[in-house]
């Protein structure tokens, strides 16, 4: 088996290839992010194809979360550009990027503690997020059915009226993922969905992500190798801010650079 390295993206860069968006939904081009002289991110090119589930792995401090921050507009890259669905989004604000279609689940699940499970979901319904829309919003059956359908899938249907502060860690993870799905993003960034979950919870989360792959494009950041194996998808390895290898899990595992990065010299 040939060890995976980085594929040759050179001729597919959005600024050179007009048709890049036929193949890729997201393209990161020569991104660097420097904080106080420390280079947190130094990526050449990464392309994520339509309806792909891409897993990003890497040791601690490899820049995985920083990469998410750059994609979602939380951090501005020092140089380089982010392209999504046919346009450059490097300079757009966080809420604009969300409305264009990139949704994110944070490492620690962010839910609104004093709102009930249903109210949490409600705030993620697609559509206008303006003040007037919120003042005039009325509940309706189609919305309720969609919310309940998602909640049933993650076994939260019985807790719709429970305030989120009373949920277990796993339930909070699922609530965060469910609201993300409800908002119908074109790209889901899922940061460590299995962190702190029990084995059976992890399995359900894996099933959920694989189901999503049918209709969505996903980037999943993960530590848990068993979980990555379950997802059985293309893997990008980040290390010290660089993308080191890309390929199937088996392929990247045989890459000597990756082995060195994980095991140390």
């Amino acid at each position: 088996m040939v060890a995976a390295t980085i594929p040759d993206y050179k001729n597919e860069r959005p600024d050179q290839n007009q048709l890049w968006d036929k193949k890729y939904l997201l393209f990161l081009s020569e991104i660097t992010a420097v904080f106080d002289g420390f280079k947190a991110l130094d990526l050449e090119h990464i392309g994520v194809m339509h309806n792909e589930l891409r897993v990003v792995i890497g040791p601690n401090g490899a820049g995985k979360s920083t990469m998410c921050d750059v994609i979602t507009g939380k951090t501005r890259p020092t140089t380089g550009s982010v392209w999504f669905g046919g346009e450059e989004i490097t300079k757009k604000s966080e809420d604009e990027i969300v409305r264009i279609g990139i949704g994110r689940k944070f490492q620690t699940p962010t839910v609104y503690d004093s709102l009930t499970v249903y109210e949490n979901m409600e705030l993620s319904l697609p559509g206008s997020k303006g003040i007037f829309a919120m003042l005039t919003a009325r509940r309706n059956k189609t919305e309720r059915d969609r919310v309940m359908h998602l909640l049933e899938r993650v076994r939260l249907a019985d807790d719709v009226d429970t305030e989120a502060r009373y949920l277990s860690h796993g339930q909070r993870q699922w609530l965060a993922i469910s609201s993300l799905i409800l908002s119908q993003p074109r790209l889901l960034l899922v940061d460590e969905p299995a962190a702190g979950l029990t084995d059976s919870e992890t399995e359900l989360t894996g099933e959920l992500l694989l189901e999503l792959k049918k209709e969505h494009t996903l980037i999943v950041i993960e530590h848990d190798m068993d979980f990555v194996r379950q997802l059985n998808s293309r893997v990008t390895v980040l290390c010290e801010g660089r993308s080191m290898a890309e390929g199937s899990l088996e392929e990247v595992k045989t890459n000597p650079e990756v082995i060195e990065a994980y095991l140390g010299r």
Binding site: R99, T110, Y112, K129, I131
Partner: protein, 385 residues
């Protein structure tokens, strides 16, 4: 008292079987309070209570409207604003200037301004002219409009500037407190032609009615009561809408909200403006009943006192905010008058001590304030039944 943060008391089901549920007790209590508030002017008319008592209740109700606004911005949205006193004073000054126009005039300018009129170089007595910001408050309708719009506008400026640049937490509180103190300095200067530290006083008529007439005092009470009920209902609608849930979401996790596609700063600014307008309205209702407005209403202690009302009453519950404002002010009224039991003489000087202890007590023992205490009590009663 149908607050959304209410945890269903354990006994609610038992209680409802026996015929008294917590919500029924709440409704009965609210109804009784409302009935009392409506009956009060009639009692005054019959001579059972003094007009001064009604006047006092009217003033405290106006302060209850300020508390409603502060509760929306602090209790619901989690932003501790210390400039509600500024908005209150802006509304108060609008009404004060309007009332001064109708009072005693000297050389064509109201007495309060005349006594501190600052003469510029070359100006001599007899050359007094009313500045433009006095003239705009001459028409009654325009005054009402400006008394609400100006605080709203100032709140909009502070809100958008602060929230877009993501000034948060204690920094926002300090910013608002500093602006309030700056405004107080501004209003205190005689050169600003806002009557200096004396403030505006000696009002005689409002829209042709003698302010000293007991019936007019009762009328002002009724107007304040209607405004309080009206604003309470508007706030209730706001907090029950999806907009209200966005406010709670801002409090819980602003970042999550931003990544759900919302602009938190717009929601924060909107509710800050609304709270500012409520404070302005309250100031306009308060001034003719207190018969004075001075820059001292912008002192730091007033801003803090407003926070204490809401904290004691119960943050995040509209009823608690109003109740807190009323209870603290009634206590203030009782404890700043001189009385004695036996050989013990109560002195008004003790009041700050009582207030301080009350605040500490609430922080330590009643984090949900009086509203939280009430919920627990009602839960018990429903259980016993």
């Amino acid at each position: 008292m149908t607050e959304r943060t209410m945890n269903e008391p354990a006994g609610i089901h038992l209680g409802s079987i026996c015929g008294t549920s917590a919500s029924q007790i709440n409704k009965a209590f609210a109804g009784a309070l409302l009935a009392f508030a409506i009956l009060l002017p009639m009692l005054a008319h019959a001579g059972v209570v003094s007009v001064e008592t009604v006047n006092m209740a009217g003033r405290y109700m106006a302060l209850g409207i300020v508390a409603l606004g502060l509760d929306l911005i602090w209790g619901y949205t989690g932003i501790l604003s210390l400039c509600q006193a500024l908005f209150f004073a802006l509304g108060g000054y609008a009404m004060g200037i309007h009332l001064a126009h109708q009072g005693t005039l000297h050389n064509g300018i109201p007495e309060s301004l005349y006594v501190v009129y600052p003469y510029k170089v070359g100006e001599s007595k007899g050359m007094e002219v009313l500045p433009w910001f006095w003239l705009i408050f001459k028409p009654f309708n325009l005054t009402i409009l400006l008394g609400i719009l100006i605080p709203g506008l100032v709140a909009g400026l502070i809100g958008f500037a602060g929230f877009i640049s993501r000034v948060k937490g204690v920094y926002f509180s300090i910013l608002t407190q500093a602006l309030t103190v700056a405004a107080m300095m501004f209003f205190s200067k005689n050169e600003m032609k806002l009557c200096g530290t004396n403030g505006i006083t000696n009002f005689t008529t409002l829209a042709g009615h003698e302010l000293s007439d007991p019936n007019v005092k009762i009328g002002l009470y009724v107007v304040t009561l209607i405004c309080l009920i009206g604003t309470y209902l508007i706030c209730l609608l706001l907090t029950k809408s999806r907009f209200g849930r966005v406010l709670l979401a801002v409090r819980d996790s602003e970042t999550a909200l931003r990544f759900a596609g919302y602009k938190p700063y717009a929601f924060k600014a909107a509710i800050f403006i609304f709270a500012g307008m409520l404070a302005g309205l309250a100031g306009m209702l308060y001034t003719p009943q207190a018969n004075i407005i001075t820059p001292s209403y912008m002192e730091a202690r007033w801003s803090i006192l407003m926070v204490v009302w809401v904290a004691v009453g119960g943050r995040g519950t509209l009823f608690g905010a109003v109740a807190g404002a009323m209870v603290i002010n009634l206590l203030y009224n009782a404890m700043t008058s001189q009385w004695s039991i036996g050989s013990f003489d109560w002195k008004p000087d003790y009041w700050p001590l009582v207030l301080g202890m009350l605040f500490i007590l609430v922080v330590l023992a009643l984090p949900d304030g009086l509203a939280g205490l009430w919920r627990k009590m009602v839960g018990r009663i429903a259980e016993v039944d």
